[in-house]
């Protein structure tokens, strides 16, 4: 019954290692890309987002008119010179729509990168160290999350004055707790895994363990959350601008363009002033949400 019976000669150590000389399996990222490409709506969403980014980048070359140029005709209906007509002070609607892409994308992407960074770091630290650190971060998150999102943002932006920077910072300030909670949740389970324990035993620094060993394994849900966050931030900016507390004219934003439709004349008789702006906003948000959904399925095949 002794194990000596099946003792292997040390020289055969290598042969015994059950070498599998098959092709290396696909890399993790390749798997994700393959799964993502199977979701046609998600791919369509990605294409739309890329087109929007290009539109924003090349706005000056794509616009038929200067977005702030006042032409002679006010509220002109669509024509060959003004494909989507002009607004109440005679600016070309199409050119303004194109330039507004920039605002939406800037707000969406910058806001999300700020709060995802903050939320990730706080969530990581909170879960990794636990104890009073965890208690403080989570209660802070509770406090920030208690204020109804759009309402508190509206109040803060109205008090601080609505510039692009303020809007981005305030949106980020009230958005980090969701990410912090999400990251904390995954880190709490990841830090119990043996490869993290091995890192501790090897004497790696807490920072290295947190950012190089734990974080890469928690990225999936963060990326998905960030994607949906971009859509949410774009919608929030549009909402603020619609209420007159966001991006201020003459800078064009889809939200402040829709704001004109609060007058019954515009709403009833000048559809070109609000339907295109609303539609492009809807399409943008839809595209991002489709992409987020595709990413979620691709990153976590279990769901």
């Amino acid at each position: 019954m002794s194990m000596t019976d099946i003792r292997v000669n040390p020289t055969t150590r290598m042969d015994a290692a059950q070498m599998i000389e098959s092709e290396p399996e696909e890399r993790y990222t390749q798997q994700i890309i393959r799964r993502f490409r199977k979701n046609r709506l998600a791919v369509a969403g990605l294409v739309v987002i890329i087109l929007l980014i290009l539109t924003g980048l090349f706005a000056p070359w794509l616009t038929p008119h200067n977005p702030n140029e006042l032409t002679a005709v006010f509220s002109a209906s669509p024509s060959t010179t003004h494909l989507l007509g002009t607004d109440q002070v005679g600016r070309d609607v199409l050119s303004r729509l194109i330039y507004a892409t920039r605002i939406s994308l800037i707000v969406g992407f910058i806001t999300v990168s700020i709060y995802v960074t903050i939320g990730t770091i706080l969530g990581l630290i909170s879960a990794y160290y636990g104890g009073w650190m965890d208690m403080i971060v989570m209660r802070l998150a509770d406090i920030f999350m208690s204020f109804p999102y759009l309402m508190v943002i509206l109040v803060v932006v109205s008090i601080l004055g609505s510039s692009l920077t303020t809007i981005i910072l305030v949106l980020a300030l009230f958005s980090w707790p969701t990410v912090a909670r999400l990251v904390r949740g995954s880190v709490l389970s990841l830090k119990e895994l043996d490869y993290v324990k091995a890192g501790v035993a090897l004497g790696l620094s807490p920072a290295r363990i947190m950012f190089s060993h734990i974080l890469p394994n928690a990225l999936g849900p963060i990326i998905v959350n960030a994607t949906f966050g971009v859509a949410a931030a774009i919608l929030s900016e549009a909402g603020l601008s619609f209420l007159g507390m966001g991006i201020q004219p003459p800078t064009p934003s889809w939200g402040n363009m829709l704001s004109d439709a609060q007058s019954l004349t515009v709403l009833t008789n000048q559809l070109w002033l609000w339907v295109p702006a609303g539609s492009i906003l809807l399409v943008t948000v839809l595209a991002i949400n489709f992409m987020g959904d595709g990413l979620r399925d691709a990153l976590d095949p279990k769901q």
């Binding site: 209660r139 208690s146 309402m151 109040v155 209420l243 609060q262 839809l286 949400n289």
Partner: protein
């Protein structure tokens, strides 16, 4: 169970204190102070100083905070800068319409989203499922103000069958039918936003439950699909679903600002906009605080409900 509830309430205390501090900070971020902003620039400096002294604006911020907190504990938010009425009174007048709007939308949202979501899960990968999933994406991505404007355009201006806004027809008879007519459009916008999100959630959690082994056993035992779905799966899928609906409340309160603005609904959303435009800080502070309290209380309630409903939580 009682210790859990008490513990949960105790955790809420520091959060509540935090809310008062953050709320106070937000309003005191304002550059300048209300007196400088409202008073006629020609008023003699002495008078301005006297006014500031009277309002306590010369005290250090921390003293101002405790004064405000003391006032709060006595049940008051001070007086409005614009109408000079007590803030509690102003908010009290406006909170009813908002609660009516949000509670009707939430109830309708639940009643619609749960059966559709379940059906969508049971009929996974059928045409019905695809259409519902597609629609739910469009509904969640739809900007509320765009949908609101579209509905007004269609039903109030084009077909002229519903009013453009308000809570009742001004000068008309205050009857039930009239009130319902005014409710239809704003409730539709809020409900669509809710069901868009929740159908997907209900569907996902139902699919989760349907995959569990005990349901396979139930089916293998030859139980009818209807019984399996309703008796075995539903009860387990419903617990998280209900609490997730509770999480909609902060979003609804925030969203009500846009809805109330578009439909001229005389609730706290509209009051918020008016107070912002008139820089009525005491009212804004009161509004923010009450909204935060509502959210905090709902979260507490949902946590406790979850705890009571799900026997597994107790062992943690």
């Amino acid at each position: 169970m009682l210790p859990y509830i008490v513990r949960r309430l105790l955790i809420a205390i520091p959060v509540l204190i935090g809310i008062t501090i953050l709320n106070f900070c937000i309003v005191n971020l304002a550059p300048g102070n209300p007196v400088d902003m409202f008073i006629d620039p020609n008023t003699p400096q002495q008078l301005v100083e006297a006014k500031k002294e009277m309002l306590g604006l010369n005290d250090p911020l921390i003293i101002q905070y405790f004064k405000w907190l003391w006032q709060l504990l006595q049940g008051g938010f001070g007086y409005s800068f614009s109408s000079f009425a007590p803030v509690t009174h102003i908010i009290g007048e406006r909170i009813g319409p908002t609660l009516m709007l949000t509670s009707i939308s939430l109830t309708l949202g639940l009643l619609i989203a749960i059966p559709i979501g379940i059906l969508s899960a049971v009929k996974q990968n059928t045409r019905f499922d695809y259409i519902i999933t597609g629609l739910s994406f469009i509904w969640t991505s739809m900007p509320q103000f765009f949908l609101g404007l579209g509905l007004i355009y269609l039903f109030a201006l084009h077909f002229k069958i519903l009013p453009t806004g308000g809570m009742l027809t001004i000068g008309g008879d205050d009857n039930f039918a009239d009130r319902i007519k005014h409710l239809i459009l704003p409730v539709s916008v809020l409900t669509i936003a809710i069901i868009g999100k929740k159908i997907r959630y209900v569907r996902a959690s139902m699919l989760d439950v349907l995959k569990q082994d005990y349901l396979r056993t139930a089916r293998a035992k030859g139980l009818h699909a209807f019984i399996v779905t309703n008796k075995h799966a539903l009860r387990n899928a419903l617990i998280p679903i209900i609490t997730v609906f509770g999480m909609e409340i902060p979003l609804l309160l925030g969203g009500s600002i846009i809805i109330e603005q578009i439909f001229q609904w005389p609730g706290i959303g509209q009051l918020t906009m008016q107070s912002i435009l008139s820089r009525d800080y005491p009212t804004l502070m009161g509004l923010n605080f009450i909204a935060a309290i509502i959210v905090l209380a709902t979260n507490l309630f949902m946590d406790i409900l979850y705890f009571v409903a799900d026997p597994r939580v107790k062992y943690n």
